[in-house]
Symmetry: C2
Subunit: 336 residues, 2 copies
């Protein structure tokens, strides 16, 4: 199955569609296809990938047919190895073969990573791809958490810092983004051996990275750093803890609003404002997470992605592919 | 400085005071001494430890005099090694020498751990002490996160599960507490090598631990498990992330309340209820974190501890010491 990566010219890239796994996500295919239609209406070329009988109405969009689907709960590596004609594997092949500019899936995250990695391959000199997830900062562009879960075990974090910096600049317009290392104290002596070693390397100077020191978990939301670097285990625990805590707080507030007639009346006034504030935090409004370090653009949507989230993810994938994100990443990590 | 640990009888223990580091905490000594007075009025015997000139008015409480203070930002191990006549080291020695039932400090956490470890020693067969921190569960007793920061690097988590279970039962009355392992997915195959190995060991059965599987960060607050096990790095990042996210959410809500005249009026109705709900989450209302695995009771208060928090911490330390928590821990980890 290993074939050469086909690289379209910049002009050709802008005309290529983004390949969307029509069967990925809790609300697939209905909301996924609806999101694709929305993005297409907004000028993003899209091609759906999936089994025609399962996808159903494509609302006028092109469909690349396949016969299999990797389920949400399926073992990622085994799924990708066995289901060579699945929507995820086919989407990754469209990018590899120069027939799509990027791929998007809100399905099985592990299988999305495995498909992209096995079919597109890694960028030269990138040891391990990582997932960059936007962390909300009200009134400012999101910070980026790398790695938020691609690697449960990491032996080097410096490339994550480099790739996260390119992504922050390209995607969120942070010029010369500030990078911090997630740890358990500000002092360089704090943390695991990997964190301490990474601190020393970043402090000594790494190309493309402006290091501002360690950052503690309490600053993960509203972060002073534009890029937050962690191993994938810690990053994933922290990301989910932050999500869970915000949801927990939201439930507490809703409980307070439901307390009695008086609080309900006050709630009627506040609820629209609260929902607007919560909406700004919604990870889906930012378009999704990004797999950095594979040879192509791969955007990973939240499993619960709505049509709006999918449309945002497709726009993000298209913009990053046409801006040659992969090329920029490759030049930085290769040291050219 | 190594001397034999003196073990008072159960009756003697109940009459011994809890040794309180009068100089530990952001609000020391005023709020610390006020908290001690409060606890003493509530029937908890307390002895203050600190330099008389710095402590000032003891409000009628006994003071064990010393000449030094380990500052909040000071290097813990060096501080304990150099400042042998500091309030922290002296407090730990009072426990070792059978002159206090327990020690409490809201000062330098690392130095508190080091003092307790070096002066009281470890319980037999305990590889590494760990910090147990209560995690709020509205309407239920808190869950316990072990280790929340004693060890940046861990090679075994099973004893944390055992000690956390004893603590949950003893402190929060959770009969047969349910224990979960903090990871990045429910499957046993998820996580770091240490997490996977620990999962296998707990699954196979460990004395005193009822294992219910992995738990993700999003369930850290309102946890279905009574005991949540993590290495100290991950646990500390998760704890601070949860604290930070709750504070972040609180700021958002306050911003919404301040939006305009109408929301301010609604806020007047809701604020007392919101503050009550937030108060339930306040880590200080639960009395503080606990160092498990040293040969004695050592309670670690939050740096920002108020007088109420200190009084709660003293009550907690006294109750656990008189209930012979250390003896129970020692019997379980020793396998007797």
């Amino acid at each position: 199955m290993a074939r050469d990566r086909v690289r379209p010219s910049a002009e050709a890239l802008a005309k290529l569609p983004v390949a969307l796994d029509a069967m990925g996500g809790d609300k697939a295919p209905a909301d996924i296809v609806a999101g694709a239609r929305r993005a297409a209406d907004d000028g993003v070329p899209v091609v759906l990938v999936g089994p025609p009988a399962l996808v159903g109405d494509t609302f006028g969009l092109d469909l690349v047919e396949c016969t299999e689907v990797i389920e949400m709960a399926e073992d990622p590596t085994a799924g990708v190895r066995r289901k060579k004609d699945s929507s995820l594997v086919r989407a990754a092949e469209l990018v590899r073969d120069g027939k799509a500019s990027a791929m998007v899936s809100a399905g099985n995250t592990g299988a999305t990573m495995a498909s992209a990695l096995l079919r597109m391959g890694r960028l030269p000199k990138v040891t391990r791809p990582c997932i960059a997830t936007p962390m909300p900062r009200p009134g400012r562009p999101p910070a980026v958490l790398v790695d938020s879960g691609a690697n449960a075990e990491c032996t080097m974090l410096v490339q994550f810092a480099q790739m996260g910096s390119v992504f922050s600049a390209e995607r969120y317009g942070c010029a010369d983004p500030a990078t911090a290392l997630l740890s358990i104290g500000e002092e360089p002596s704090k943390g695991t051996p990997l964190v301490k070693e990474t601190h020393a390397l970043l402090e000594a100077g790494v190309r493309g990275v402006r290091f501002i020191g360690n950052l503690e978990g309490r600053e993960l939301l509203g972060s002073p750093a534009d890029v937050i670097v962690a191993d994938g285990f810690t990053g994933n625990v922290a990301l989910k803890t932050a999500e869970g805590a915000l949801r927990f707080a939201m439930r507490l507030v809703l409980d307070v609003l439901a307390h009695d007639e008086e609080t309900k009346a006050a709630g009627d006034v506040l609820l629209p404002h609260l929902l607007a504030a919560a909406g700004e935090l919604d990870p889906e409004s930012t378009g999704g997470a990004m797999l950095l370090g594979v040879d192509g653009v791969c955007v990973i949507g939240h499993g619960s992605s709505s049509a709006v989230a999918i449309a945002n993810a497709l726009r993000m994938a298209y913009d990053l592919a046409t801006a040659d994100l992969s090329g920029r990443l490759a030049r930085l990590t290769a040291g050219d």
